[in-house]
């Protein structure tokens, strides 16, 4: 029974990450992944980006975005494997890789964002 009580929290984090990813991932990817590389728009200068990143609020917000999106991704991918490929005999391994990966990724995000000087 103690194990079950984790699930609501995971679904809550999944939802929060889903909202943030839905709100922000498309525009960020459209700009940095497609529009700037293809030359549709000119990318912001280094100074401008650094100035944005130096703002503590921006970094806290980006950290929240990264962490919750990673948990969202981990949780959904876990169920993709569970439902889609019916990998049920590897449950514990899959959980470890998914949530463990999200935790490691969050730590990397914290480290990278902290280092912006």
């Amino acid at each position: 029974m103690a194990k079950r009580s984790f699930e609501p929290l995971l679904w809550l984090l999944f939802s929060a990450g889903g909202v943030l990813a839905a709100l922000l991932a498309p525009i960020l990817l459209l700009l940095f992944g497609v529009a700037f590389p293809l030359g549709w728009l000119s990318p912001p200068g280094h100074e401008h980006l650094l100035e944005l990143l130096r703002h503590p609020l921006a970094r806290v917000f980006l950290f929240g975005f990264c962490t919750l999106s990673l948990v969202h991704g981990a949780h959904r991918f876990r169920y993709t494997l569970y439902d889609g490929l019916q990998i049920k005999h590897l449950n514990e391994f899959v959980n470890l890789v998914c949530y463990g990966g999200a935790i490691v990724g969050s730590a990397v995000a914290a480290h990278l964002l902290w280092r912006v000087a």
């Binding site: 939802s15 990450g17 889903g18 909202v19 990813a21 839905a22 709100l23 922000l24 991932a25 498309p26 525009i27 960020l28 990817l29 459209l30 700009l31 940095f32 992944g33 497609v34 700037f36 590389p37 293809l38 728009l41 990318p43 912001p44 280094h46 401008h48 980006l49 650094l50 944005l52 990143l53 980006l62 975005f65 990264c66 999106s69 990673l70 969202h72 991704g73 981990a74 949780h75 959904r76 991918f77 169920y79 993709t80 439902d83 889609g84 490929l85 019916q86 049920k88 005999h89 449950n91 990724g105 990397v108 995000a109 990278l112 964002l113 280092r115 912006v116 000087a117």
Partner: protein, 136 residues
């Protein structure tokens, strides 16, 4: 086979479902593609963190990042990711009325309003990010 394979279900009369059940119908395929958007959300975070890293290392590495992101494999990956991420966003906001039940003065708000307000929030967030990044 251990009993813990199928939690909360006794292993009685369970017909084996094909591993490729999601190819049987278009709606099943859409479901699994929506679930697979998780992989591309994770890639988006990784890509952004690479950008943050490059910016923090200086002007040169930022330029290197920009030219790396213009290389064909990265561009193709990002185009694919963009499709999946937009699919995630559109389906997420479309489903919002099912997840959010909002009452105003004792009456339940119609689902279309909730979906519309979510799409509006998406448009505002998009405009804010574009303004922050592109406005000088």
């Amino acid at each position: 086979m251990r009993a813990s394979y199928t939690e909360y279900h006794p292993r009685w009369l369970r017909r084996r479902k094909s591993t490729y059940w999601w190819l049987e119908r278009v709606s099943y395929l859409a479901f699994i593609l929506r679930e697979l958007s998780s992989v591309f959300v994770v890639w988006t975070v990784a890509f952004l963190l690479l950008l943050v890293h490059a910016v923090s290392q200086g002007d040169n590495s930022y330029r290197q990042f920009l030219s790396w992101s213009a290389s064909t494999p990265v561009l193709l990956l990002n185009l694919t990711s963009l499709l999946f991420v937009v699919f995630h966003a559109a389906t997420w906001f479309r489903l919002a009325p099912q997840a959010m039940v909002v009452h105003v003065r004792g009456r339940r708000l119609p689902g279309a309003w909730i979906a519309a307000s979510n799409y509006l929030a998406w448009a505002l967030a998009t405009a804010l990010v574009a303004w922050l990044l592109l406005g000088d």
